[in-house]
Symmetry: D3
């Protein structure tokens, strides 16, 4: 190791260089860990779809033991990561170690007791995917092979955590599914039952989007924001309702972009490659005017 | 662990809650395992492109030993996973353990003996990628860096398994490449030699698509279905020929969508961002009419 | 193991079958290893964004030790992989083992001493992402959750290696980010500060693209080549300047395709789903003429 | 890799060279695996002494789940290894694959249902160790720190398997404890309750030794064979009763050697460094005549 | 999984069956973990003998970084395990979570600041081993190959923890060295500088033994207790001074047993295979009267 | 991390504190690595006793591939570790990097080509163990369960390396077997064929010991040095012939100690617990005069 390297180490270790992006966790907690969060997602999936994720030899007779052990570990890791998330955001450290511990413990339990309900919702998504795709041979194939199941599982988990006011962790969890599937659903979106996305690569669903029951999307669909109102300093105002509201029984074909705080009415069918930034009436069928030169 | 958690474990373990999506494998076999299937793909890639995947220190003198050991392990794991796939689908359990064992063993061997031929096809794909991209410096760079090689490798492996009537496993294998590359090729598609996809994110190739020799695609291209004929119960009829047939020497530029059981003739060039749902004559050059407002 | 398998091993081991795609490294070095390159990227990220990547318990007091150990290991692995990259390309073996060793060592150090500067650039990218997204709550959330940070980190690392004339390795590194994020940036592109990509799946930035400061892109944007001039043998001429030059303060909305060696002027705003292959004047606001049939 | 190495590979691969020590398993089963047997021992210990071995966070409320999962895995691995052991010994292959499968499955269950009883015996050993050592602070310290608990656990597991006629596996299991603790107990020995060995390094207990209840030994004690009657070919006759029978309430101090098919009566105390090859009467106190020259 | 197994799980999960040997940790802490304690020992050894243990590529220029990172991790793990040890012993739970946390943190630091001194002592042990063995070629060979260095390292670490009143952990640490080397040193023993044990298998050094400076032992030597005074209930009285005190410059040859609270004077030489239970005068040379029958 | 810890890091990082025991490798090579040496031993055992060590599914048909891959990796690692060993000892650095590389490469090959011969010798040891133990059921059981096979394998490997003048590595390898089995054989000893050690814990065989063919030992036997002639500075003279020479067909029973450069004649039988420091005539049968007080 020569002196140039020693010099680089020194430079890279100077607080001034990284203080803006470096967090000193309050209460000396470690920061959230993406490795542990990966294990959390893997555990949750093993509980929601046993055999498909985690131990492939599980069977109905031993189910209870496997779920018990997975819940036990999930609980342990969740408390730890929720604490890390809370300390990451509340740098002022106004809460005592004990309060944080207790709050994190409460949130972890409040999340886990929702798992049966989350599982029910996910089963409706499996049914929707099966019914919607002529290439699907069984429910099992859907769970094993359809990226939308992974993306929606992470979304439903993250959404439940977000509603419990867990900071940061929900976004990391949906981003993991984005990396895995190319489907980017913000945990803040509200999505009904029987939701399915075919293929899915490139799908974006924004923070304040609302999606009804029985909605189907294809790859490349964006539910995005059209513009960001700025505050007096010229920065975007955070948290404004700015994404589409999609009704029930809507189909959106591939690569269409739906922008702004508009409404797409129940039963609408939106063709592929469209750019929509106005309300769509219920039952409307939109498709592209083709203009090609040969 | 408090009582709320114990209650959740109980609820999540009740058979009624998961019986529809939970498979009890026939013959007490474990379910297919995505972890083992990942190893199978890794082994197959190490055999097809030694040095690029697997042990980076392999060289021609020791090649035979490495391939021998990899085939030995591939065979062991394939038999196991093919059995798991067969038991997953034939829940009626009409076959005896012995028949399943024998059939799976036969299919595994029938797959492995096709590897030399699969490798030959993949070499034509490497050549096509090299010839088609001015940024490529060598065949080696193609194999190391081009996601299409990974996606097409998985497709060619999965297609061979599907032709051997191996259930479920082929779809899981192409979906692994989809997650890794953003390229989603159904194992049922039939694809000729010298096939290449540049960049590739968002590409979708459907179950009954047919692609000739020497075809090149860019990112975001969809070869999809236009509509799904429904049976009398209103469910999509499975297995109908519903995707495009692409001729030889065709180029399809980025983000174009080609839908339905249509034909794209030999030598056609399809520009980017197009939406095609009618036959394209051989040699046609299609491009978008631009309509922009400034 | 039956005779059919032994036969397959023999066939797959014959040099004729793989000689075109198989590299015999000069100087008996192993080939580059994607596993080691993954560790290199993980180390570099741990150095550039400590706590977010790598050990989540690092804090300012222990920062120096962690960075020191990470640099030490990064240096070791980089020398090894740069050597492997050099031997992969210069098959003629004109350099002695000693020269290669020395050159690789020099390049590794020349790369590492740029890390402080790379970190500074990346911090501008974090700021740009934060300012540009109303959904972002803190710099920390950006680093943890935004795929563009991972893609741009890999790009900035790979670009620095490419400028040092390291062969092959830079392309593998950006391709790793492509697989992880769906964002495909060629290491040869030149990109200014305060660069951000929202969502990002499907973005493609070509080898000779130039991007100014303070540019923002959305998912699905392509900066591609329009055509490849062929040499007298009909092969594409490698290395020609063929991608767009984007000015400062430009915004490009989702799924737009910008092709060829054109210029997009400072302050231009390019709407979504557009297909651009002519120069765009500074300050221009382009958007799609909608043509929909209901 | 030069030709000398290739030549060595060839020589080492010739069947003549290793046929005597190489087993071709009947029924194409793999051989027993010491790695899997290590996991089996670890699982059994986790079930017998939860928290001390395996997951250190287990507690009475979650005990059932952890034991259930561990039994599930133990069962799976045991069936596999018992089969491997049976195929290793019955090279004649007189049993069908189905018979072996069924027999191994039966033996695995017959072993597991003895675990509650084995645990009870081991608890008497913990009590004996605690009562016998003034340095011990709690039962927990005994389980964590005393090598005799590990050695006796493996012995009691192996003895139960041996009584079920499982070949080979029991010896491998006690040898694992020998390597770990220096205590070498043959699985064929018969040992009563409340057995303890202090320190233990160098202890040897032979195949046909019998030990009563409440016996205590120190390091270096041998219960060995004195001579091996030879058969007409001059080979030792296998399986003859040739080791000591130790009564109840006996103490044997360090490094004493007790040889042959003799009896040590109830309540005897045998001093250290003695060499005994005759019966010892009940209640006898033996010690060494010291003979030292200064 | 059949009903017999389910029955076994039930039996093994009943609290009555394991309540005596099962610890419910106070404050819901997990129990000490032997896996974590193994990492602790590995870290401490890497700090005390860098390069020999841990990363073999460390060198003086990077030493500080490696030691810093190792101390950081050692501290983290030690606090956790000391807490676990404290909760294991003080079942009454009289201390609050906060007090335990603080006390454990203090003890961890008080241990770590002794490491420089522990290293100095260990260096004297290396010198003694080198000087005492004609087969040793260098200090480095001693550290790499001599089991006594591993056993004495663990002892010196454990002794320091014991003096800080850390419960349980010290015993587990010396027992790890016992398993690794066959040398069993109780952490309560007090041992001077320049201590060496050649070969070492079977050595036992009891809890209240005292050893001066510059003492050398061979394999199989026991410094044990002769008898255990019983309390009125017939149980051994814990903690009484019952082991030998060995002076300075003493040599004890292989397999000798020294028992009871006796004194071996400075400069004594005790031959092999002896049984000593009386004081030995300074400078005495004891050896065995040989009595052999041919 | 508080200031006391930072202070400790500083102290522990000061060169003065560790310079005597710290090696700065010449030529900037890393030090030998015990982890890599463990893999080397594991590879060598997998080659010498395939199926028993390493992959348990190997069979005669695939043997060649497995041995080829194992030799390939063994060669790679051996060259690296032999270099590290050479740099560890020749601190003067008189050899160039190239010479060391070449010499290490030569030694690695010279070792590997001896493996067939080493295997033959080890097979004689297996036969001897089988013939000598009435408890042994098959050759396979010997290889799986007898610690002497592991200890003698490591010894024969290490002895071959030592004869090739490889520094340091041989001692580390035999010490690994010492830790695993309690049998401590110096790599310098010369040992004939058909050698076996029963149980083995506590056996010590010194550097200059010579053992004939067909010798059998039991646990606790020492072949040691009696005294170490000192040089004029009072240090032991290194390398002098100081251990026993054992003839052919000798049996040495448990815990006997044979000291000094004496000769034990062919066919001698040495009883247990004896202390021998004079020549033993061929065919002699020695046993202990028992002297016990009751």
């Amino acid at each position: 190791m020569n002196n140039e390297l020693l010099e680089s180490i020194k430079k890279l270790s100077q607080l001034e260089g990284f203080k803006d992006v470096c967090h000193e966790q309050s209460n000396n907690e470690p920061m959230p860990s993406t490795d542990v969060l990966k294990e959390i997602v893997q555990l949750a999936r093993s509980i929601l779809f046993p055999g498909y994720f985690g131990d492939s030899a599980v069977n109905p007779k031993t189910m209870m033991y496997h779920i018990g052990v997975n819940i036990d570990r999930l609980h342990l890791l969740l408390v730890q990561q929720i604490k890390a998330g809370m300390c990451f955001n509340c740098q002022s450290g106004m809460k005592s170690q004990d309060e944080i511990e207790q709050t994190a413990g409460r949130k972890a339990i409040d999340f886990i007791i929702q798992l049966p309900e989350i599982r029910e919702k996910l089963h409706t998504d499996v049914i929707a995917a099966y019914n919607g795709d002529p290439a699907a041979k069984s429910f099992g194939e859907i769970i094993f092979c359809y990226p939308s199941i992974r993306a929606i599982s992470n979304y439903r988990i993250a959404h439940a955590l977000l509603k419990l006011d867990v900071p940061l962790i929900p976004r990391i969890i949906t981003e993991m599914a984005h990396s895995e599937t190319g489907i980017d659903i913000h945990p803040g979106a509200r999505i009904g039952n029987y939701f399915t996305i075919d293929h899915g690569t490139g799908v974006v669903i924004g923070e304040t989007a609302i999606i009804g029951d029985n909605v189907k999307m294809y790859q490349g669909v964006t539910l995005g924001a059209k513009s960001f109102p700025l505050d007096k300093d010229g920065n975007p105002i955070k948290g404004i309702d700015r994404h589409p509201h999609i009704g029930n029984d809507v189909i959106i074909y591939s690569n269409s972009t739906i922008l702004g705080n508009i409404t797409v009415g129940d039963g609408a069918v939106i063709g592929g490659n469209l750019w929509i930034d106005n309300n769509v009436t219920p039952g409307a069928k939109l498709s592209q005017n083709k203009n090609m030169s040969k």
